[in-house]
Symmetry: C2
Subunit: 413 residues, 2 copies
């Protein structure tokens, strides 16, 4: 068990090394349910698209050479055969000196190799006069011009949105292989918390973290399993953690990681399997007691009890791992620049994260002000914080008026 | 039935007037399932938080006046009574000259009104020496200091993320009133398209739009009902539209809105109820044939058949209405600035939307290039387009090197 308090950078590096676990495998999902899932394999087209030569305009299908030399004063004259519609194999065959009316999207009939636009023609009875020459393949989209059979259309790792799902539909698919969604068990510990929905005993407060972290898991593309508040008892906690490890791909606990006599979560986690706890405290503020373990192939993050600190450390440490396990290539964090309205201090020797609220000042400039995480209430902080500002270990403070980068906590995926 | 081709601005205005339908009502949802839902009512706290005066530090609960005058060289001496833990009603009563050990988060015992930090004390046997005076309420968070009973904590219309759901949990809630999710029926028309998953007949292509638009609905916070491809027949289309209107809050159709003899969707929509079609064509490119109707209280958007144009017009016209119906206060569109790599032309007299792909140039500047929506393939366009650039009616083109605003189509919610 690693005992030294790591720097934030060391912790990030060790987490990246120890928890480089890869994806959890693939599964098939209906294409209509695939929104925001991650493609689990390269998708190769089984067909040419379009599957036939098609007209890109409304007009007349012709043999291009029949129009050569045609001009305003010297139209080519062709015999009209009938009409080619969309959605059906043309029964017409265009011979020399012949033409067939055609609409956009319809298959080019046999014998024709170009389309004259309707505005360059004049039809009288069965005679079509063409006032402009076309070259071979003009106004024709050739079979396979959009996608060729055998072409790789989408790649494993792409997140499926409206466009990608449209592309898969175009290939005729109704199912798709996607990476499995990591299941994350979320539980809270601590003698002072009680589950929402239950009666509140004297001296207790309602647990926030199992709800907020479950939601953060969902927001990050994972599937939360809410395990609620575990009674403040070693045997119960051990049982709950074993259950969590058996039923999920990752475990998040919160509370019970500081130095009090009843804060035994890290010891119990460490006893549940190899390699065990590899980070036990990080030189950050807030979130110093955060511990990280790997039990078999399952990461366990023991986060602080303070709700905003727990969400922050989830965001900084657990979320990138969850996303790697989902097959999402990179953690995209959203940042905005803003001016500090007041001096923000760092904790000596610790990477400091100051929770902030974004505002506009009188000149409509984007500014941030600190949202206290200490003496002020847990809920006020949670409700107010839009994101955080990071202060390096070797900086004492950020001065009023300095430009800072704010990492947004909301809508992070 | 409105017949004049409207400008884009006119169309937006008429849509805002005609389709200002409000939300669909509220429903209760479990808090754990409430991620990304919209709060349907103001939430008022039924309790004080914290529900008791609590210590914000580890230390000793005292009567503040017992420490007055205490200094490094002249400590106050108090008799220790025992320990107050978190999560339980203290049994100890602190009298004059007495103190009780207390941990962060524990209730202040009766008789005490302040907490001395442990580092300002020294304990020997049952005697505590206090080296620093505290004032009344020092290191104490008072009952209700975070949230007062009766206080409005969250407001109707707020979108529920990890923080908001944490706040609701703090109030002891496990359920929450949210606005109903609009149900949107999506169907495709057109003789040339066949449903993915079926065999592809000669002369047909697979339908993209029912899939891409269903996904766009989901991405915008609606619930899609996929109705697939409706056979190219008036009676069948009429039946499908009646079914769609009966089973959904909004209907999206695509294809079948241009001038061909089989493009009868708008006429049928118009016959299904009052007030009927109120926009029949818009001076935009692409998407000119777009029609918009209101049948009873249900908006019907008939979008173009071209997949990118359909998604674009959904984004421009239908999505804001869908979001209003969801109770989301405003459509937040994501935009980025970039330089045009080549000249982009507008269609004369029409508001032009050029589908573009974002890239980085050699100097790592963000640039955009046009993704052709005309002759090039539907799928290539769909796969490549990151967003669009808007060119006003009175502009002929955007020049190479000009800075443009790109509205992103992906991850729009």
């Amino acid at each position: 068990m690693f005992r030294r308090l790591m720097t934030f950078e060391e912790a990030k590096q060790v987490i990246n090394e120890q928890l480089n676990l890869g994806v959890l495998g693939e599964e098939e999902t209906p294409l209509l349910e695939a929104y925001n899932r991650v493609l689990g394999e390269n998708v190769v087209s089984a067909l040419d698209i379009p599957p036939f030569n098609r007209s890109t305009v409304d007009g007349y299908a012709v043999k291009a050479e029949d129009t050569f030399g045609a001009e305003e004063n010297q139209p080519a004259k062709l015999a009209t055969l009938g009409m080619v519609s969309v959605g059906e194999q043309p029964k017409i065959r265009v011979g020399k000196g012949e033409t067939a009316e055609i609409v956009t999207g319809a298959p080019i009939p046999e014998g024709a190799d170009a389309v004259v636009m309707v505005e360059d023609t004049d039809k009288t009875g069965f005679e079509l006069r063409v006032f402009r020459a076309v070259t071979r393949d003009e106004n024709v989209m050739k079979r396979g011009a959009d996608i060729k059979k055998g072409e790789t259309v989408l790649k494993a790792g792409q997140v499926l949105g409206a466009s990608e799902i449209g592309v898969l539909a175009a290939l005729g698919l109704t199912k798709v292989q996607v990476f499995k969604v990591p299941v994350v068990a979320v539980l809270s510990t601590g003698a002072e918390v009680t589950e929402p929905g239950k009666e509140l005993p004297d001296g207790k407060i309602y647990d926030i973290n199992a709800y907020s972290l479950s939601t953060a898991v969902r927001e990050s593309g994972g599937k939360p399993v809410y395990l609620g508040v575990v009674p403040d008892d070693k045997a119960e906690l051990r049982k709950a953690l074993k259950h969590a490890l058996a039923s999920a791909d990752m475990v998040l606990t919160s509370g019970g990681v500081s130095v009090g006599p009843k804060d035994f979560t890290p010891q119990i986690v460490n006893s549940l399997g190899e390699p065990g706890v590899f980070i036990s405290g990080i030189a950050v503020k807030p979130g110093k007691p955060t511990t990280v373990a790997l039990i078999g192939k399952k990461p366990v993050f023991s986060l602080p009890g303070h709700p905003t600190s727990a969400l922050l450390q989830f965001h900084l440490l657990a979320r990138p791992i969850l996303q790697l396990m989902s097959g999402r290539s990179a953690t995209e964090v959203k940042t905005v620049k803003a001016l500090a309205v007041a001096r923000m201090f760092s904790a000596k020797g610790r990477r400091t994260f100051v929770m902030v609220k974004l505002k506009r000042d009188k000149s409509n400039r984007r500014v941030v002000e600190s949202v206290e995480t200490g003496a002020s209430g847990a809920i006020s902080t949670l409700a107010k914080a839009d994101g955080f500002v990071e202060i390096p270990e070797n900086h004492q403070f950020i001065d009023a008026g300095e430009e800072v980068v704010v990492t947004l906590l909301k809508g992070a995926l």
